[in-house]
Symmetry: C2
């Protein structure tokens, strides 16, 4: 379990979100589509491929990224790449599945054992922002390409979106029941909070240009939301 206050740095080190860690998990979970057997080689090349793929997908979109582009950017030949995935679509599926599992793990961990709705709300908001800060290219890709996913992946992606939102809604609901939050439409509130969380990774260029840090954004958001939903506690 985590301490009460959570800075971005400590978040980052506590959740295992390093590139290598993630590529190793991908390697382990995809032994059927990955033909390479040596873990060291596989992890190194997977890391190159994923970096390249996320970079290209983020700048031009998945369907505009050709595998020739990807080959150039990753430094591997076409043939070599095809030892790591069966098809372009398969590559997308691998990336997606891994990202989803990381996000679910993070959100589960930060709320574990916390009861107070306000604290829980803060935690979820902060964790979501921090996670999307570390994995920005993944979040962006996931958001922008969902509609192009094959049926299966599409459904899972939508479910994940609704999962986070429901987490927010439930917290709001319990806060209202205990008289801590003003009564207002919890579903809509969950939806708009989600959209503000997403803005952070969707408009990265804007916030970057304004030299805004994730901690500043997080603080602003918490204040903004709280000043709207908290019951007035003055005498």
């Amino acid at each position: 379990m985590m301490s009460n206050e959570m800075g971005f740095a400590s978040f980052r080190s506590q959740m295992k979100l390093s590139k290598e860690e993630i590529c190793r998990e991908i390697f382990l979970h995809n032994s059927d589509s990955i033909k390479i057997r040596k873990e060291g080689v596989a992890v190194r090349n997977l890391s190159r491929i994923l970096d390249a793929a996320l970079k290209l997908c983020n700048s031009k979109g998945f369907s505009s990224m050709s595998l020739r582009d990807l080959s150039r950017e990753s430094g591997l030949s076409m043939g070599a790449m095809y030892s790591y995935f069966r098809s372009k679509e398969d590559l997308l599926r691998m990336i997606q599945a891994q990202g989803r599992s990381v996000v679910l793990r993070v959100l589960g961990r930060v709320t574990e054992g916390i009861d107070d709705p306000l604290l829980k709300l803060r935690r979820v908001i902060q964790a979501h922002l921090y996670a999307s800060e570390v994995l920005q290219p993944w979040f962006y890709l996931s958001y922008m390409e969902t509609r192009n996913f094959p049926r299966d992946e599409y459904k899972k992606s939508i479910e994940a979106e609704l999962f986070t939102e429901n987490m927010l809604i439930e917290i709001i609901d319990s806060g209202q029941k205990r008289g801590l939050f003003k009564s207002m439409d919890a579903v809509l509130l969950g939806a708009v909070i989600k959209s503000m969380l997403q803005d952070w990774y969707l408009k990265r260029w804007k916030y970057y240009k304004r030299k805004m840090s994730v901690e500043q954004y997080s603080e602003f958001l918490l204040n903004f939301i709280e000043s709207s939903i908290l019951c007035d506690t003055r005498v």
Copy 2:
């Protein structure tokens, strides 16, 4: 100028946003790329092409939409379509330019002659939501494809995004200077309001499933924002 209260229906009729009206303007502004001379024919076919293009782009994205798809969906042959645009990219440019000009016109009109910051804020928020309700496919396309636009169009698209945001920021700023709004970071506030406006057209499926109307969403948003930014007026 408009009346104080603005329902969705009256908004729709006051702004000229009918498909035909818009296609006629496209025809007039693109006499260089459109080879057809008879207005009647041109407007009818443009309307088919645009409907089909927006539908396909919204479901699979611009780059995944082939011109053969478009030909099938619009009912025109490849050859015929090419009398209406010079290239696939050209088609996108036409759609974009027209949409931008409509949005700017709408936002200009609803704020014209209004001084009170709170009213002005309400007007902009409402008009943005209403406009994106009528032109949802255009807004969605514009958001999702901006990064694929050629340099020129890309810049214009970003400018338009910042234009709306600046409108919000200036209103907030003037409200704060007059002591009507709490003091808080106006730039960030503008950004998150924008993101909540965008959620309406980006997640249409979600709100549709929840049977939410644009007027309900608009009312919720106004309450939410006002309860966070208005200075306490009690004695």
